[in-house]
C-alpha cells in the first residue's frame, strides 16, 4: 500500500533557491550592472557617478572608473570587452580602457544629459564595427571608438527615449515621442520611420530582424514588422512597459509592466494569440533578460525577488532568489551560467544558473 500512496502523491516542484557564487556592494544606487562580453568583469555604475569593475570570478574590485558628475546614466561594453562607454549628467560620453582604467576619449555633446550609450555589439576585427551611439536630449550621435564624432543626426522632434543596435547589423534604432526610426552611420536621414501617437520608452529588436518591439508609457507593447512597418498593439498592461527581452530564437518576447511576466509567442503572429504568463512575482517586474543563447529567462521585482523561468515548459519559476529591497539591475554572463542582480541599496549577487 505505501507504494500506491507514493504514486498518488503529487509531484511537488518547489522552485530551487539559486546558489550565490559571491556578493559584494557599492555604497550607492546601481543604475546599471553589466557583465563584460568575455565574462571576466562585471561593471557596476553608481547613480552618483563612479563605475566599479569587479573581477567576475573572485568578486574583488578590479578598478574604479571616475564616471560622471553629478551622475552616471548608462554604460555599455564594446564587443571584445576592452572598452567601456558611459554617459552622464555632465553632458558627455566617456570611453574607458578596461585594461588600465584610463579614459580613452571624452565625447562632448552639449549640456543635455547623455541618457543612453550603446556600443555596437557587432565586434570583429574591423575597426569601423566598433561604433558608439549616444543619445542626449533630442540628439543622436555616432562616435568612433577613439571618440571622433562620425555623425550627428538631425534633431529628433522630442527627447530620444531609447536606442538599440540591431543585432548583427550596422543599423541603429531610436525611439522618441510618436516615432520609431532606424539609422545607418553613412547617412543623415532615417532609413525608415514608424509613427504612432504615444510615448515610446523602450526598444527590443528581434535577433532575426523581423520585429522591433517597443514598450510604451500608455501601458502597451507594440510589435513593428521591420519590412512593412505594420504595427501590432498589445494593450492591457497595468503600468508602462520598460522591460522587454527577446529570446535567442526570435520566437519569444518577454515583457514586464505588471507583476506577471508576459511572454508573446511570435512563431506565427503575436496578434490574437494568448501569451504565456509566468506567475510568482510579488510586485511589479523591474528587470527582464533572456539568456544570450539559451531559453531561460531571468526577472526581478520591486520586492527584491529574482526568478528564473523556462517559460515554454512551465508558468512557475524553476528557481528563486530573494534580496531585502528592490531589485534594480540584472545581467547574464556570456556563458549563460550565471547572472548578476543588484538591489537599490547597492548590494549585488552573482547567482549560479545551470541550465
Amino acid at each position: 500500500m505505501p507504494g500506491v500512496i507514493n504514486e498518488l502523491a503529487p509531484v511537488r516542484n518547489e522552485p530551487a533557491s539559486m546558489p550565490v557564487r559571491w556578493s559584494n556592494a557599492i555604497d550607492d544606487y546601481p543604475i546599471a550592472v553589466s557583465w563584460s562580453p568575455d565574462a571576466t568583469l562585471i561593471a557596476v555604475a553608481a547613480s552618483g557617478g563612479p563605475i566599479t569593475l569587479f573581477d567576475a570570478n573572485s568578486g574583488d574590485v578590479h578598478s574604479v572608473l571616475a564616471g560622471h558628475a553629478p551622475g552616471t546614466m548608462s554604460i555599455s561594453w564594446n564587443a571584445d570587452g576592452t572598452m567601456l562607454a558611459s554617459g552622464g549628467q555632465d553632458g558627455c560620453a566617456h570611453i574607458w580602457s578596461v585594461v588600465d582604467g584610463t579614459e580613452l576619449a571624452v565625447c562632448q555633446g552639449g549640456s543635455a544629459w547623455v541618457e543612453h550609450t550603446a556600443f555596437n555589439p557587432l565586434g570583429g576585427t574591423k575597426r569601423s564595427n566598433h561604433l558608439l551611439a549616444t543619445a542626449a536630449g533630442r540628439t543622436l550621435r555616432i562616435w568612433s571608438a577613439k571618440g571622433v564624432l562620425i555623425r550627428e543626426y538631425p534633431e529628433h522632434a522630442s527627447t530620444v527615449s531609447a536606442i538599440a543596435w540591431k543585432p548583427g547589423r550596422q543599423e541603429l534604432v531610436s525611439a522618441s515621442y510618436g516615432t520609431l526610426a532606424t539609422w545607418v552611420p553613412s547617412q543623415d536621414s532615417a532609413l525608415k520611420s514608424f509613427h504612432w501617437k504615444g510615448s515610446i520608452l523602450s526598444i527590443a529588436c528581434s535577433p532575426n530582424d523581423k520585429f522591433i518591439a517597443t514598450g510604451d508609457q500608455d501601458c502597451t507593447v507594440h510589435f513593428w514588422y521591420t519590412k512593412t512597418g505594420r504595427d501590432l498593439q498589445m494593450a492591457g498592461y497595468p503600468a508602462k512597459v520598460l522591460q522587454l527581452s527577446w529570446d535567442a530564437t526570435s520566437r519569444f518576447l518577454a515583457t514586464g509592466g505588471s507583476d506577471t511576466v508576459v511572454v508573446w509567442d511570435c512563431q506565427r503572429s503575436p496578434e490574437g494569440s494568448t501569451p504565456l504568463q509566468c506567475e510568482g512575482h510579488e510586485d511589479f517586474i523591474t528587470m527582464l533578460a533572456y539568456q544570450h543563447r539559451g531559453s531561460l529567462l531571468a526577472s526581478t521585482d520591486a520586492t527584491g525577488l529574482t526568478a528564473l523561468w523556462h517559460p515554454i515548459a512551465s508558468s512557475k519559476p524553476r528557481a528563486l532568489f530573494k534580496m531585502p529591497d528592490e531589485a534594480v539591475a540584472l545581467s547574464w554572463n556570456s556563458t549563460d551560467d550565471a547572472l548578476v542582480v543588484a538591489s537599490g541599496s547597492g548590494r549585488f549577487n552573482v547567482l549560479e544558473c545551470a541550465s
Binding site: T159, Y177, Q217
Partner: protein, 459 residues
C-alpha cells in the same frame, strides 16, 4: 485594518514631496526659489527648472528641463503629461537618499494641468513621489493686464493650493483688496498670502499636503456660504394689490429674479429664504416675462426682459406681508425699485448686496456645493463618470467629502481634470452627515453641477 493603514503610511513616508511653482514672468518665482533654497530648513532640495543658472546652492541640485508635454491615451482616460518630468523624477528617485524635497518650476506661460496629471498617471512616479502642492505667484501690480489677455494666469490661479500676491509694496492697499477678492472668486479653496519680495513662511508653502486625501477637506465651508447665485436682495412690506417693479437698463438684456414671502426681516428668516432662493436660481427653464407682464410671489425663477429705458413689471400681491426680491444682478446697478398702486415708491426695509460669484468677465470660477443628506452610490458614480468624461477638460481641481448612503465612513475625493482619486475615510461618528464639494474650473455651469449633485441624493 490597522496594519494596512500603517503600511500605507510607511509607503507614504518614503514618497518624496514635490512642490510646483507657477507664475508669470516677473512674478517673483526665481526670488522665491532662492529664498527656499537659502532658508535654513535642513532639507536637501532638488530643483527642476526651465532655465539654468539663476539659482543654485552647493548642497542642492538644479536640473534644467525642457517642457515636453504629451497626450496620453489609456483606456477612457485621456490627459496630457510632462514626459520630461517622468524621466527626470525617475532619475532623481535613484538618488532619493540624498533629496528630501523636489521643486518644479514651470515656465511663465505654463498650464499647470500636465504637471499635476503627471503625478497621477505614472506608476513609478506615484509610488515614489507625491505632489504636495501647487504654489502660484501673482505679480500684484501687473497681473491685471494679464487677466484679459491670457488664460494661463487664470489657470495658474485655479490650480493653486497657495497663491502669493507678491509685490504688494508696489500697489495701493485698496487695489490689493480688490485683487484678492477677484482671485478668491476664481479659486475659493486656495490660501492667499500677501507678500513683498516673496517673503513667506516656508511652512505655508512646503509640506502643505494639498493633494492628500486626508486633507481633502482643507476647504473652509464658510467660503461656500459666501457664494450665491444672486447679487442683491431687497425686503419690502407690501399691501395686497398690484405693485410695480421698475428696473433700469444694464449690461445684460435679462434679469433673473425670485420673489418670496418671508416671515420678517430678521437674519434667521433671511437665512432660510436664501437657501430656497438659491435652489430656485438653479432652475434651467425660468418663467420669461416681457414688460408689463405680471409677476407674483412664488417658488419659481422669473426671467425679465429688459429694455433700453426703465422696464416696468406688475407684481400681484394677494396677501399683505413682508416679501423679499432676490435679483441676479446688483440692485443699485440696475436701479431696482418698487412702487405701490399709487405710484409712490416703497423703500426697502432691508437691502443686502451679495458678492457676485458668477462674475461676468471671469471664465475661471469655483463652484461650491454644501448640502446635508446621503448620496446614492450608483447615482453618484454615474454622475461623476459623465461629468468627468464630458466636462473634465474644464475642471481644473476638485475636492470634497461625501456622505454615502449606508456607509458609516466619510468618502473623501480629489482630482485634476478627468483623473479622480477617492477613498473612504474616518467614520462620521456624531458629526452631522453632509456633502461638501468644490470644483474649480473654466466655464463651470453652477446650476448644472448643483442640480446634478442634488439628483444623487437619496430622497
Amino acid at each position: 485594518m490597522t496594519t494596512m493603514l500603517e503600511t500605507n503610511k510607511d509607503i507614504e513616508r518614503k514618497q518624496v514631496p514635490v512642490t510646483v511653482l507657477t507664475g508669470f514672468l516677473g512674478s517673483g518665482k526665481t526670488t522665491l526659489l532662492n529664498r527656499i533654497l537659502t532658508e535654513n530648513h535642513g532639507k536637501r532640495i532638488a530643483v527642476i527648472e526651465n532655465e539654468f543658472g539663476e539659482v543654485g546652492v552647493d548642497q542642492d541640485l538644479v536640473i534644467g528641463a525642457e517642457e515636453e508635454i504629451f497626450e496620453m491615451n489609456n483606456g477612457c482616460i485621456c490627459c496630457t503629461v510632462r514626459d520630461d518630468l517622468i524621466r527626470i523624477l525617475g532619475n532623481l528617485m535613484k538618488r532619493k537618499d540624498k533629496f528630501d524635497y523636489i521643486l518644479v518650476e514651470t515656465t511663465g506661460l505654463a498650464d499647470p494641468g500636465p504637471v499635476a496629471q503627471t503625478f497621477f498617471v505614472d506608476h513609478d512616479i506615484k509610488a515614489k513621489t507625491k505632489l504636495d502642492g501647487i504654489v502660484t505667484l501673482v505679480d500684484a501690480k501687473h497681473v491685471w493686464q494679464h487677466f484679459d489677455e491670457s488664460n494661463e494666469v487664470k489657470e495658474q490661479i485655479a490650480f493653486a493650493d497657495v497663491i502669493l500676491l507678491n509685490k504688494i509694496d508696489l500697489v495701493e492697499p485698496a487695489n490689493v483688496d480688490e485683487l484678492e477678492e477677484k482671485i478668491r472668486r476664481m479659486n475659493v479653496a486656495a490660501r492667499i498670502i500677501r507678500t513683498t519680495d516673496a517673503v513667506v513662511d516656508m511652512n505655508a508653502i512646503l509640506d502643505i499636503r494639498g493633494f492628500d486625501l486626508d486633507h481633502a477637506l482643507g476647504v473652509d465651508p464658510t467660503f461656500l456660504e459666501l457664494e450665491h447665485p444672486f447679487e442683491w436682495a431687497g425686503c419690502y412690506d407690501l399691501e395686497a394689490g398690484i405693485h410695480e417693479l421698475r428696473l433700469g437698463p444694464g449690461r445684460d438684456a435679462t434679469m433673473n429674479l425670485v420673489i418670496l414671502r418671508i416671515a420678517d426681516a430678521s437674519d434667521a428668516a433671511f437665512a432660510e429664504t436664501i437657501d430656497l432662493s438659491a435652489l430656485l436660481f438653479s432652475e434651467k427653464s425660468p418663467f420669461v416675462r416681457k414688460r408689463r407682464e405680471a409677476l407674483a410671489p412664488a417658488e419659481r425663477l422669473w426671467q425679465l426682459a429688459l429694455e433700453e429705458q426703465p422696464s416696468v413689471f406688475p407684481i400681484v400681491i394677494d396677501t399683505p406681508g413682508i416679501y423679499v426680491i432676490f435679483t441676479e444682478h446688483g440692485g443699485v446697478e440696475y436701479d431696482v425699485r418698487v412702487h405701490n398702486a399709487g405710484e409712490r415708491e416703497i423703500a426697502p426695509m432691508r437691502a443686502v448686496a451679495y458678492k457676485p460669484t458668477h462674475s461676468h468677465d471671469a471664465t475661471v470660477t469655483s463652484v461650491g456645493i454644501d448640502v446635508p443628506g446621503d448620496c446614492v452610490e450608483e447615482k453618484l458614480n454615474d454622475w461623476f463618470r459623465n461629468l468627468l468624461a464630458n466636462d473634465g477638460v474644464d475642471i481644473f481641481r476638485m475636492k470634497g467629502v461625501l456622505s454615502i448612503e449606508k456607509s458609516p465612513r466619510r468618502f473623501v475625493f480629489q482630482g485634476v481634470h478627468m483623473l479622480f482619486d477617492g477613498r473612504p475615510d474616518r467614520p462620521w461618528g456624531d458629526n452631522p452627515r453632509r456633502n461638501t464639494l468644490i470644483f474649480i474650473g473654466r466655464n463651470l455651469d453652477r446650476a448644472k453641477l448643483t442640480n446634478g449633485f442634488h439628483a444623487c441624493l437619496a430622497s
